[in-house]
Every structure is written in structure tokens, then in C-alpha cells.
Chain length 496, copies 2
């Protein structure tokens, strides 16, 4: 490594220190901080974020980029330079004043969103959303794109994914899922989830969740589990990746599957190569790939028959007595109930992607000026009816349910559905390498975790999502494996 390169790494380390401090503050605010301390802490966030922004757009950064780009034999340095350049460009292309106005608007809009939900009044939010859409269009123009303006926004969350690609895979996925949901709606045999609704103390749920996290290979010397209202996983540094969960004492599924989901995110971050630590590459490569890791563990592993064949005994040991008489088969089917519902974050693994399709189609049309904000409620309800066969009785349970748009985030939603597809594609490749059902059934996740570490986790941002997908599966993005997996699983459960 030459001197310029090591100076660059030192510069990145310093930048990363600010990021680490900010991550810790975020974790603390969401888990431990007393409420009166929030106000002053938000000033600290302001100061550190500004500092971080200054780093990424500094002349010094530009000098490093100019000196090193295409001019280094160290692949890691090259990739880090590319990441930095992208951020430099992204941040520099938007006029400072405009970005500040956008941030202020966004923060106001989030507050108005709360009020609009409470009052079930979309009209309150409408003018804010209209402005936020305009800002996103403007920013997308600043950033540039090849074919569709919406691509510029997608790029922030899922680099390499374009509207063209999504329009190739999403409609067939949507139609296959909608058909499967339709069959399930008409199935004569249905699981009974009420058998799962017994009181199950937080402490006991926690001990079961902790045990599963441990078996997954989550490293408690490099992380911890806490309780929050909105569960999340956060990497403070590669050796300190924390997860949180939420307990519902009348429905253990919330905590158990939630913990495993966040554990999947955490395994990704904990196993990024140490060589990348303290660089911008020490992070999951995209929102979608991240989601593939959480969904893989939550659904492909923890909602599988094989998983419960091994863990049902442990579960019954820890769970209170009303769970004892539940037959295995009824339990397995109950935790996999499919039911079209109004709220995305409560959706099952089959209907979830349909909620995403609605959002994708609407936000793409908004950014392309094909529809107007004022028409969102009606369009939303119509699509809900088309894809899920139900219509929200109120906007609160419809277009007002998610914070994303009110927070100015457009282009984010597709990542969730991409996560399902990636996960199914990875799952298919993994199955070609080993009999994973056998391993799951024996409660030994070691080789599965190792496979994920070696094929996905270690690379951090060294590979872009589609390159990673291709390297692991030899295929490009497609919905085939997800549809096959869901069809097979739910045909059995619903005896279709």
C-alpha cells in the first residue's frame, strides 16, 4: 500500500468514527435514553451529521478520489474510492439550500403524517406529499438517469436495479402471488391461528428467542438483544451489531420471528470481512440484499417444517402449559397462516410482496408524473382490491399507513420485495450444495451460516447486489424460485 492509499484509509477511519458515534446515539435513543434527554441529543446528531456530510463532500475527499480512482492496484481501495465518489457526487449535485429546505419539509411532513393518521384525513398530508414528490423529481434530475427518472431514486437503495428490470419481474410475481392467494382464499381446509394465542411471558419468550439467536450463530460477544417498540438491527461497528425485539405476551410470533428476522440482518453485519472494517465497504451492500438475509432466516428457516421438527420440543419446554396439547401439524400450519390483510407490516410471507407491488406501481407513476398525489387514496384502494381482494375501510388503514413517503423516501419500497426474491434465489443455490432440511432438522445451522458468510456476508459492499446475486446463483434476478417455493409450501399447508 502506498502512502496516498494509507492516508486515504486514515481519512476514512476518521469519517467512520463519526458514523459510529451517530449509530450508538441512534441505538441509545431507541432503546435506553430517557425522554427528556432527547432534545439536546438531537443537537448532537445535527453537529455530528454535519461533520459527516462535510467529510463526504470535502475537497480532501475529492483529492483522494482524483488521485486514487483507477490508479490503485488494491481492489478494496478501488471499491472504497468508488463508494466515496458516488456519495460525493450524490451530495454535491444537490444545491445545499435546496437540500436544507427538503430536510425541513420532511421533518414537518412526518409530524403532519402522524396527525393525518390520527384524524384519518389524507387531505392534511396531501400538500406536503406533493412538495416531497417534486423534490424527489428535482433530485432525480440532478442525479441523472438513463431511461426512467425513477431509476435515479431506486439507485439510492438498490444500485443496479432499474425500472426496466422491475417491470420485467414484478408483474409476473404479482400475478402468481395473487392467484395463489385466490386459491388459498377458496381453500376448504384452513389453519387455526387462535391455537397460538395463549399468554406467554416476556421472560420466557426472551429465553426462547435468545436460544435461537445463539443457535443461528449470532455472536453475543459482538452484540446484544434489547427491547423496543419498533424492532431493528444496527451495526455500530462490525464487532458490535445489536438487535432489538418486541414482545406481545398474547402472541409469541411477534418476538420469536421478529428476533430471528433481526438476527438475520445482524449475522450479515457481524460477518463482513474485518479487512473492510472502518471503510464505507463495511456494510450490507443494499437494502434488498439485507432483507434477503433477514427473510431467509425468518421464513425459509424458522417458518419451515424442518425447523419446528427440531425446535418444537424446546418450544414446549419453555412455553406455558396451554401450548402442550397442540399437535405439531396444527402448530406448523398456524404459524404459516395466509390471510389478505390491510397493513403491510402485519402481512404474511405470501401476501407481503403484493403490498409492495401497490406501493411500487404508485410511486413509480408519481415520479413519472403519470398520476397525482390527490388521487393516491382511490388508486391505493383499487389496487388493494385487485391484488388482495380487500378494500381498506379508511385511509388510515390504506394510503396513510406507512411513513416512507411522508419522510420523503421514494424508491425504497421495492427493496422489500427484492429481498424475498433474492432470498429464494440464494435458498435454491444453497440447496444445490447441501441438504439444508437435514441440517435444520438437526438444529445445526453452522454450515448454513458458513455458506452465507462465505458467499454473501464477507463481501460487504465489495460487490453490488446484482453482481453478488450472479456470483452466488449464476442467474440474474427472477421471481421463479420465490413463486416455486411459495407454491410448494402453501399447496401443502392448504392442501390445494
Amino acid at each position: 500500500m502506498n502512502q496516498k492509499e494509507s492516508e486515504f484509509l486514515t481519512f476514512l477511519k476518521e469519517q467512520k468514527a463519526y458514523e459510529e458515534a451517530l449509530s450508538l446515539i441512534q441505538w441509545d435513543l431507541r432503546t435506553k435514553a430517557p425522554k427528556k434527554g432527547f432534545e439536546q441529543r438531537s443537537e448532537v446528531i445535527g453537529v455530528l451529521s454535519q461533520k459527516l456530510h462535510n467529510f463526504s463532500t470535502s475537497d480532501k475527499m475529492k483529492q483522494f478520489i482524483d488521485a486514487l480512482k483507477g490508479n490503485t492496484e488494491n481492489e478494496m481501495i478501488q471499491k472504497a474510492v468508488e463508494e466515496c465518489e458516488e456519495e460525493y457526487e450524490r451530495n454535491r449535485k444537490i444545491p445545499v439550500q435546496e437540500y436544507k429546505q427538503f430536510v425541513t419539509l420532511r421533518s414537518k411532513s412526518e409530524t403532519i403524517w402522524q396527525e393525518a393518521r390520527e384524524k384519518n384525513d389524507f387531505k392534511l398530508l396531501q400538500p406536503y406529499l406533493e412538495k416531497l414528490v417534486e423534490y424527489n423529481i428535482k433530485f432525480a434530475e440532478y442525479w441523472g438517469y438513463e431511461k426512467n427518472i425513477y431509476d435515479a431514486l431506486l439507485h439510492n437503495y438498490e444500485p443496479g436495479i432499474t425500472t426496466e428490470i422491475l417491470d420485467e419481474v414484478f408483474p409476473s410475481l404479482r400475478d402468481s402471488l395473487a392467484e395463489l392467494v385466490d386459491q388459498i382464499n377458496n381453500a376448504s381446509v384452513k389453519p387455526d391461528p387462535s391455537i397460538l394465542q395463549h399468554h406467554f411471558s416476556k421472560e420466557k419468550q426472551e429465553s426462547f428467542s435468545l436460544e435461537i439467536l445463539k443457535r443461528m450463530g449470532y455472536d453475543f460477544d459482538a452484540g446484544r438483544l434489547d427491547q423496543t417498540i419498533h424492532p431493528f438491527a444496527i451495526s455500530i461497528n462490525t464487532n458490535d451489531v445489536r438487535v432489538t425485539t418486541r414482545y406481545d405476551e398474547n402472541d409469541f410470533r411477534m418476538a420469536v420471528f421478529g428476533t430471528i428476522h433481526e438476527g438475520g440482518h445482524a449475522l450479515y453485519e457481524q460477518n463482513i470481512s474485518q479487512d473492510l472494517a472502518q471503510t464505507p465497504l463495511a456494510s450490507g451492500t443494499s437494502m434488498g440484499i439485507h432483507e434477503s438475509q433477514s427473510l431467509f432466516w425468518e421464513n425459509f428457516i424458522a417458518r419451515s417444517e424442518a425447523f419446528w421438527e427440531n425446535h418444537f420440543d424446546l418450544f414446549k419446554q419453555i412455553a406455558p402449559t396451554p401450548f402442550e396439547p397442540i399437535p405439531f401439524d396444527e402448530f406448523y400450519r398456524a404459524i404459516n397462516e395466509v390471510k389478505p390483510s390491510l397493513i403491510r407490516i402485519e402481512a404474511d410471507e405470501l401476501t407481503y410482496s403484493l403490498h409492495i407491488m401497490i406501493r411500487y406501481e404508485l410511486e413509480k407513476a408519481l415520479i413519472n408524473r403519470e398520476i397525482a398525489v390527490k388521487d393516491l387514496p382511490d388508486l391505493w384502494n383499487q389496487k388493494m382490491n385487485d391484488y388482495l381482494g380487500i378494500t381498506p375501510p379508511t385511509d388510515k388503514e390504506g394510503v396513510l399507513q406507512d411513513i416512507h413517503w411522508s419522510a420523503g423516501d421514494f424508491g425504497y419500497f421495492p427493496s422489500y420485495a427484492l429481498g424475498y426474491m433474492y432470498a429464494a434465489q440464494f435458498n435454491h443455490s444453497l440447496k444445490k450444495q447441501m441438504n439444508i432440511d437435514d441440517r435444520i432438522r438437526s438444529g445445526n445451522f453452522k454450515e448454513i451460516k458458513q455458506w452465507l458468510n462465505q458467499n454473501i456476508h464477507q463481501f460487504g459492499k465489495m460487490k453490488k447486489p446484482l453482481q453478488l446475486l450472479n456470483d452466488v446463483t449464476g442467474e440474474s434476478l427472477n421471481s421463479k424460485y420465490l413463486v416455486d417455493y411459495l407454491t410448494k409450501k402453501y399447496t401443502a399447508i392448504y392442501k390445494l
Copy 2:
């Protein structure tokens, strides 16, 4: 406020943001952080500390000092400028290179101290201590002093306190305490602390401790209680002041009195005027005044007869059954057992200051080159014998017990004994204003807390320790009230 003044406050706010981030990191490292994350976090501490140091020694800071010192009508600004100037001078007077060498030496020495303790081998540590003493002497010369070189070090912890003052008050305190201890050693009636040693679960101890903290007026919306090996209180900001405690299931005194002690520190920080927030004045004015607040609550309140007259019932409700038959009088006397012991941090309120006298006399002599580091073990043991009547069988239980000197801290120890004296003086003044025993007996601490808030806490660093003492008590530092209080209390307990 003119423009320069408000620019100055903005500058201070930014500086304070870094301090707040660092405080949160410290809290997290001591309470929640997984061990593998430590290494990278220490780099974050390095980056933020450097940044903070740069603030305090920057040309910009110097410009503010020059522009505003003696040139503002705002008293708060004037005091803040004085604080900043002092730090500016303190930091600038030491050559950067020398300070870095000192920091490196100190960190090595702390590690060697661990080893020396384990091996009970003072010789291992001796060369490090010798160098640290030399650095302290050099720094003291850089900083300057009027009469005694040791004053320059005292100033860092207890501004205004000089060797002359300590030599006036400490010997008489020492002799009075030693005599009292002697009488107690010869007393025929002694408390029996073994009656307190029953298993008492962590959870129950916690619920009792939390209740007392609440009654003291600790604001849980601006703080929280966690568990650590070494209990502490930390102000992250004035609205986020956290305490920690330690549980010994076979000795509830550790957690109960420890929590109240840290709670006393926390009440100070929580009640500093909001006008001072985000300035260097938003902090306790000295180590000694801080200690007076923790000791006041721990000893003058929570080890008093009046306190237990009210709280013994609650205690028995929460404590396990073996505590039930304990008569009140025996309980009260047992929690106030006096017994000369080898370890400072385990000492009772009477013998504690004698441990400090030993350290004060030795470190003063070291800095004045009147004794040599190599002679410390013998001198230590001799003084232990003179003042406490016991001789440490090993250096591990003698001169090697504290980390302070190995961490390069000289001039710190006196603050502990000052805390006891300040507390007794404050207690005397408070008693002139209200019948505090009545209030303690009724479990109503509101007026006591208000008095502390109004007379001590609110001022933060607006008043230096001796000015504060004088404003509150109308007297200068003296040991009279402490000796009176201890004599009265222990004459009764030991029926002298």
C-alpha cells in the same frame, strides 16, 4: 446578548456536542457494550477527544477569550469565558509531544498496575510511578503556582484549595478521627453486622433502591439506573443523568447505599440551571463538592436513625423473611459499624478520611521531592499503623490498592475528604433552616432537595467551591462540623 456573545455560545454548543457523544460512549462501554466492540470504539474515543482538545486550544477559542473576557455584561458569558481560558491555558502550557508521551506512559502504567497487584510486586510498578511523578512535577511547573508546587495539581480537581488550606484542616481532622476510632476499638458494646448478611435477591434490592431514588427526587424521565461492576453517575446532558449500581446478593448495603450515593451525584447534575446547558458551566463545580452531594445523601440522610425510622417497614416488606426479626436498634447500629480496614473503598464513613490522609501526605511529599517512590510501601504501612492501628500484610492490600497514581492522577485524593467536610458544613447550615430529621422521618425529602437545588445545584460551575461554601454556610472550610457530627453519632452508637 451581542453578536460576539451569541457566536461564542454557538461555538460552545458545538464543543459540548462532542463531549455529549463521548459521555454516551463512556456510559455504553461501562454498561452495555459487547466486549468485541471495544477495540474499534477506542478509536472513536480517540478521534472525538482529539476534536474536543482542538476546540479548547483553537485560535478561534483564543479570539473569543480575548474579545469577551472582562468585556461582557452577561455574568454567565463571563464565567464561561473564564472556564475556557483556564482550559486553554492548561492545555497550551504543556508541549504537545510531552503530553502525548505522558498519555502513553499512563496507559502502560495502568496495565502494569494490574500485573503488579496480581503478583503483589510493587517493584514492577515503581519505575512507572517514578516517571509519572516526574511528569506531574514538570506539568505543575508549566502550570505554575504561588506557594507549593502541589497546589498546581490540586487546582485541577478543587480550584481554590491549596496545600496551605489542607495543612490547616487535615491534621486536626486526622487526629480527631484517629482518636474516635481508638475509642471505638476499645468500646465494650459493638454492633453485629452479621445480622445483615442474608440472601436478598438482586430484583428485590433493585426495587427498594429504585423506590428510594424516586423518593429522593431523582427524575427517571431524565435518567435511568443500570448495573455495573464499578458504580458511577454520569451526566450525558443535564436532562440525561444516569446512575449505575452493583448488587451483592449477600450484602444489600452495597447496592442500597451505593445507589443512594450515585443518586446524590445525579441530583446535582440533574438540577443545574437549564440556562447553563450546553456551556462548560453545566457541570458540578468540583470533585469535592460533587462528593459532598453523594455523601450527604448516603450518610447524613440514608445512614441516619431518622431515615430508617421511616423506611424500615418498607425495607422489611421488600426484604426476605430472615430480616424480619431484626430489631430496629440493632439494624441501625449494624449499618453503621466502624471498623478499621485495609481497603479505602470498603471503609466506613468514619475511617474513610483517614485513608485519604495517608494518600494526601504521601503524594504531597512525592511532588515536593521529600520522599522517593521506592519508599512508598513502607511509608504507607507505617501511616496505616499510626492512623488506623492496622498494618497491611501485603502491598496489594496497601500501596497497590488504588489505580489513581498509576493513572498519573496526583492531587485528586484530597477531594474525597473535602467532600465529607463540605457535606457536614452544608448539613449544619441546612439544619439551621429546617428540622431535617422531622422531614427525613416522614420520608418527605422535597424541601431538602429544594434547598440543595437552590443553594448548591443550580449554580453548576458559576461558583467556585470555596465561594459556594461561603455563600451557603457563611464560613470557610473547616472540619469542626464533620467531627461534631461523627462524634455525636458514633458516641451514641458505641455508647462511648
